[in-house]
Amino acid sequence: MSASLDNTKSYLEVNPGWRNWVVTLDHKRIGMMYLCGILAALMLGGFFALLVRTELFSPGAQIVHQDWYNKFFTLHGAVMVFLVIIPGIPAALGNMVLPIQLGAPDVAFPRLNLASFYLWCGGATLLLLSVALGGIDTGWTFYTPYSIETQTAVLPAVSGAFLLGFSSIFTGLNFLVTIHKFRPASMGWFQMPLNLWALYATALMQVLATPVLGITLLLLFVERFMQIGIFDPTLGGDPVLFQHFFWFYSHPAVYIMIVPAMGVVSEILTTFSRKPIFGYRFIAYSSIALALFSFLVWGHHLFVSGQSRLANMVFSALTFSVGIPAAIKVFNWTATLYKGDIRLETPMLYVLSFLILFTIGGLTGIFLAVLSIDVHLHDTYFVVAHFHYVMMGSTLVAFLGGLHYWWPKLSGRMYPETIGKVCAWGVFIGFNLTFLPQFVMGSRGMPRRYWDYDPEYTLYHRLSTIGAFILGMSMFTVVCYLAWSLKRGKKATQNPWGGSTLEWVAPTPPTVFNFPEPPPEVELYEYDDLHEVENANQDGVTNWERRPAANKPARSSHH
């Protein structure tokens, strides 16, 4: 059967029908299925977020009482973290793009890839089951001993998160081996696109950190199931040990979210600036540095949980060290813009938003790394705003940027550009309106996870709620027009943005094994021999074509 697969046809056309999709081993199809699942989960998580914000419009009960409010913010967190942001860039975008950027026909272990998608589905189903069983009210962090004694549906949620953890591990393992073993001979480590560096660093963290979450959740599961007592103080267990275990995973998890976003940003930034990335090696190294540092800073989540002062000192110092590779990246990105030819298409708008939002997210992180300030700000809205700037303002915005950037390549259709730009502005403005006021109320002392609040914070909460609705509507529109464009969008060309990496050499959409013939060598981030051809296809979409260089034949194939 496989011999009959036609590698000159697009992966969307060969073997159509859902029966073939659900058992596919094609990384692009698996990526597409991930993408659909993740966007659906994003809508769900966003829905919970809007419920939370609506409730907080004024002090006291607005739409629900505290038990339901607690479930809303828990589900918002759990869905967004475990189902959306962690798999968002690696499993959806990474899956689709990574092998093509390597010039490879697939990932190293296609069946493991499909298995990890079904683990994701299993985890998502269990999380939804916990919603169906009345929800869960522990907070997404599942802190013991509350998670041991609450009467809500903790077991399905915990086992769901456990499965999602292994889904993430297997994706990471797959990527590591693929990057090691499937680079073409001509592509050394420092000829890899920065996206691959970022995915490599991410995969390292996924493989090294997630198992600890696995064992932690397993112990919590057994704890609730048969009182094993490791985290239960009444049986002699240590509830704070849970926090150490949890954050040993969940701090790297933050970097599992943000590092691939940095890879996406690097790709888009250089393409739309039409010049090579500035300080390639520093950006590459800083990805690895972030991956390594991420394992050493979990203790800053426990600054006020009774950790020794020595431990606090060490973790505070290490936490600061994370700021340096992050700062290096921001400076290099900014320098990349210098003397470029900047095209403000939608992906670039998202990336510029990312730059600003990530700067705010990173700088506010410094407040929290300073021990004495953290004592005041810990568990207030300041922290909430800070990590939303990093996890949402940075990661999700970069995800949206990457989605728009690679959408034409993978779906074969252009999204509507004007409304795309409007939504990008909507996301930027809505996001800032939502979370800037939270910094102010946080530093004034508003604690997080509060259903009711004191009247002096009302104004900030109201602004935040209004912002959240602008944000939600913008993102909902994005999902709608992307779905619309699948059938109605203009047909995309092979290289609509003028990207220089290998995926823009592959046909649009790529063939079953990505390249109908072995891909040519391309010089990384070299834009001089690309030139713009407007109205290149019947729908009037631009294409960038490679000028035949003197020493090698043109290999780009059109159809």
Binding site: E149, S273, F320, T359, F367, A369, R444, R448, D454
Partner: protein, 387 residues
């Protein structure tokens, strides 16, 4: 390098100016923000708002209220600078100064980076005829510079943060009267003073070090007093400590900041900073009052202080547990099918061994609350009185 305090203040003032700038920029989206909190703290205008917003601020029946309860019912003081609540302890200065410094620094980097981004985007935007100009793809001097400068900055910040943290966590000698036991339970705080006085409001003396020894009876809580800039998690079966040295009298907010379940957001109370003499007077008079209580009034105080209110109402409405209204003497069915009379014996055994007396329709969540015989009698009398 030694910097005299006055100089430091001036430098700080400049930063405050910067902060205002940042605040205005950050806050342009919410300009009315500066108008709202402009009501000066403690003015009569603010008082009713605060009191109305917080039902726990004090019952209206002021006739038999003690002077310290009246004092605790005064409006909260919460208005500080644009960014921070008022500072009312000696250790607040360190983190506050650092906050302003970091804010200034952040503002600088934020405007530098955003400025550069916006400038580049405008200057190098694509337009007909414009092309990317050749420029170097790396510059090691630049890279090393922007690696080293942030490194130096964060080292300095770390050292200052560490130093002020040490002073915030080094507990000085405190006299016995100022050592207070704090117990966090779902969802109320209990403060026990050295002479046995128990209260749900924290009373502390002005201008003396106060040490709190804290533990929890159930899940994690976290004790947070914004105006003292102090926060510490409260862990079951462990003790944790914080201390502060109040510098301003008044009534301030206390929050629980570690999520602890359903009523987490209602688990707040207040700290009353008394002048030194008033504090001793409070201890003595509260002690007398506590000792003199018996019967139903004692039961009522137990009902309020031990968090019974959270589950058992007096108005007939049902929460986690049955209401006390009009139940005394009635026949009730237990979970195992037995029918008993709700009398002195039943209440007593329910208090001593709650799990043995569960009723259908209510979760078996009543904890054992250690009470003296006198207190148990008081509770019985109190329930009797709920006709």
């Amino acid at each position: 390098m030694k910097v005299c305090p006055a100089h430091r203040r001036r430098v700080l003032d400049r930063f405050v100016l910067l902060v205002v700038l940042v605040g205005l920029t950050f806050g342009s989206a919410f300009a009315p923000a500066s108008a709202q909190p402009a009501v000066p703290p403690g003015t009569p205008a603010a008082a009713p708002a605060a009191a109305a917003a917080s039902p726990a601020a004090g019952p209206p029946a002021a006739a038999d209220m003690s002077w310290w309860d009246k004092k605790a019912a005064e409006p909260y003081i919460y208005d500080g600078t644009y960014w921070l609540p008022p500072a009312a302890s000696t250790t607040a200065q360190g983190p506050d100064d650092l906050f302003i410094w970091v804010l200034g620094l952040s503002a600088f980097f934020f405007f530098a980076i955003t400025g550069a981004v916006v400038y580049f985007v405008i200057k190098y935007r694509h337009r007909p005829g414009h092309k990317a100009e050749p420029s170097p793809a790396h510059n090691d001097v630049l890279e090393i510079t922007w690696t080293i400068i942030p490194t130096i900055i964060v080292v300095i910040l770390f050292v200052y943060g560490w130093r002020s943290y040490i002073s915030m966590t080094s507990i000085p000698e405190t006299r016995a009267e100022n050592q207070i036991m704090v117990t966090g339970s779902k969802w109320f705080w209990t403060f026990r003073y050295y002479n046995g006085v128990e209260d749900n409001v924290l009373h502390v003396p002005h201008d003396q070090p106060v040490k709190l020894t804290m533990t929890s009876t159930d899940v994690l809580h976290s004790f947070f007093i914004p105006v003292f800039r102090q926060k510490q998690d409260v862990v079951p079966r462990r003790f944790s400590y914080i201390w502060f040295w109040p510098t301003k009298t008044g009534v301030y907010r206390v929050y629980c900041t570690e999520y602890c379940g359903k009523d987490h957001s209602l688990m707040k109370t207040k700290v009353v900073v008394h002048t030194s003499g008033d504090y001793e007077r409070y201890l003595a008079e509260a002690f007398t009052r506590q000792m003199s209580l018996s019967g139903a009034p004692l039961g009522e105080s137990v009902y309020k202080k031990k968090g019974c209110e959270g589950c058992h109402t007096l108005d007939g409405s049902v929460r986690l547990g049955p209401s006390f209204k009009g139940t005394f003497g009635s026949k009730i069915t237990l979970a195992d099918g037995a029918i008993v009379t709700m009398d002195d014996v039943y209440i007593r055994s329910s208090l001593l061994s709650p799990q043995g007396q569960t009723r259908p329709g209510f979760p078996p969540s009543m904890p054992v609350i250690p009470l003296s015989d006198k207190e148990i009698e008081g509770v019985i009398e109190f329930i009797k009185a709920q006709k």
